[in-house]
Symmetry: C2
Subunit: 430 residues, 2 copies
Amino acid sequence: MRARLEAGQQEIVAAARRVMLRCDELARVTASETGIERVYLSPEHARANRLAAEWMRELGMSTRQDAAGNLVGRLDAADPEAPALMIGSHLDTVLDAGRYDGMLGVLAALEVVRLLREPAGDAHRSPFRFAIEVVAFWDEEGTRFGKALLGSSAAAGTWDDRWWALQDAEGVSVRQAFLEFGLDPARIAEAARRPEQLVGYLEAHIEQGPELHRRGESLAVVSSIASARRFQLVVEGEARHAGGTPYDMRRDALLGASEAALAVERLCRAEHHIIGTVGQLEAFPGAMNVVPGEARFSLDLRGELDGHRDEVWSALSLELDAIMGRRGLRWRADEVHNAAAVGCAPLLQDVVREGIATTLAPGADAPATLFSPAGHDGMSIGAITDIGMLFLRNPDGISHHPDEDVSTEDVAHGLRALAESVLHLAAERG
Amino acid sequence: MRARLEAGQQEIVAAARRVMLRCDELARVTASETGIERVYLSPEHARANRLAAEWMRELGMSTRQDAAGNLVGRLDAADPEAPALMIGSHLDTVLDAGRYDGMLGVLAALEVVRLLREPAGDAHRSPFRFAIEVVAFWDEEGTRFGKALLGSSAAAGTWDDRWWALQDAEGVSVRQAFLEFGLDPARIAEAARRPEQLVGYLEAHIEQGPELHRRGESLAVVSSIASARRFQLVVEGEARHAGGTPYDMRRDALLGASEAALAVERLCRAEHHIIGTVGQLEAFPGAMNVVPGEARFSLDLRGELDGHRDEVWSALSLELDAIMGRRGLRWRADEVHNAAAVGCAPLLQDVVREGIATTLAPGADAPATLFSPAGHDGMSIGAITDIGMLFLRNPDGISHHPDEDVSTEDVAHGLRALAESVLHLAAERG
């Protein structure tokens, strides 16, 4: 076992370039001709897994697709029963996505394995007392079924049987989609990992925010993944003829929903570290000349602290009561996702911090420590093992958008930091 | 020719009951299992035309489907070249529609023909010096292609060749839909009627508003059909990650559209006889965890006076500039419909008023005269002949909704009034 990364800067930059090229290659695995769209249990899911599995095998890893469609590559330790350090992220995307959110973390994990393998040793063996796994989770985003973290929840053994009935926009259920993809719903429990099989979970991810860009720094230690609650809201009024119905007789569901969306912005904006977003909104029946009798919209509500976030939801509920009451409308909310904030383990925060420090000039300030307002697979995996995360600078903070970007230089810093983190962890564990 | 309707009250009530039963029968010609949906150039269009054509032939009328899919039944006068009085309305519906808007006017026209035919004369002949046509127009509502009054525009010879490219929600163009329905787009001009072929156009329609209900009266004379402008608006911002993008970096298109919808309500509500409705709104990309980069919505803007309506649109445009400017958004509007207000001809207003008067108790007030904030086929037909309209009470003013209603008693009053109007017109024309 080495105490220090032997790879030279040239080797690391070459690895960073490979990460960038492979992000481009994955971007071509898309269901959309005009952008990147790669959702859970789709033909693109299968294609992306095949491609990533090839890259894993190039590194001497054994590969398997688990019972939830996640892809796992593994280098055993000398003791094949030794627990594994998982490094990874996800390969699914939002609609019209960027090419780095998720994919970067999977490809970076592969390059870290390449940098850490004993050049003189057995290429099929982990150089540490623990095994190394590279994992590519599926449906971190929840794009297809509205429920995020499906794959990593299966891996954490927290799959909820109610999810089988969730449907996509075409009315296909999770259960049907499993069968069509070639997975057996009855075997979902086999995807679950046990705590004793794992050393921990490390993930590199673009920040999806502007903080590192504003600070002019490449990398940050993540302290915790903030918690999100997601709701589907329905406003009910009365559909009426647009021409003949005076304003005093209207119960316009869309205007109620519009006021609600603006109230989300107003209430959340007034708070520190609370973010609420209405990403979906639609009016029904949806004709130009009919006052909408129903409107449906989504709410994604995040906060650094669960209690604070829940207080804001309570305040918002009162505000919605007032808005809808004034307009003679009814409203209801179905909670479709509720995750508690998950802290990164102190040890893994420390090794990531030490890893980042190796990329800094002597005398530089300590690396930034940020919390993540965005959800990540670590939120699920935190239920069974310690998690640690590293953020890479995201120019201008643009994510979930085709303009999402990261620089090759920052990726090189990230690869060095992540590889050094693993070495520090190995040293800590003796 | 008779000067006064010979039919007894019993016969008229039986006719009103037949109208109600046939409205129920047409309601079963629907594309939706859960409500009424009968759109232009659909299988339901063909089925409804076949059904109505049978009813026309029962009355001895000749029938034809014109080059735009409108159904026309005709009783010639003794002189087969004599011009025709058209009586009718439309058979297409909005989504999740009621069963009277349009259909009632077509079925009432049929019963008026039945009441006016010479019992002793030739059942296949108009009892007047003019022919009588019953017409069932298609796509008065504009449900499928976003453009209203397609069929009656074709009949008026004002079809616009740009409409061929309009598409429905599935991307099917008007041209394709014509071909799939079995109509030849090249023959559209054959649907056009010439002014010299027509005596005028009469239509009975539910009010689609609460005014008669509030007054406690059954019927009203229509003075004019107010004008509508319709727009499809697009707001462009930037799609970004919902968790990682602070409010000061967001350019949320949906929030801009929400403010715009509320501004429509605020500005129109402040004016007399101006109605603006946002009936459609959708956010893109439409994921729960993505700040919407684009929002699209419709605007239907009506006013009693064209000039006033246009002033409100100008004020609204300035307001949208301000809203979108504050939020860093761009907006644009495509005008998809622009109709001028159309007045009912004084003579036809008079004969309708006299017709309604025959249904009132001696000494009752003169019938109400209302303008129509809702559009009707008469707006198109007014380009080639005089138009007259009669409104029937619409309980609580609910229209474009499954709860849309009319009473059998009011329909009986309406049938008598409409038949008497035709007799008065025949007398006026000598």
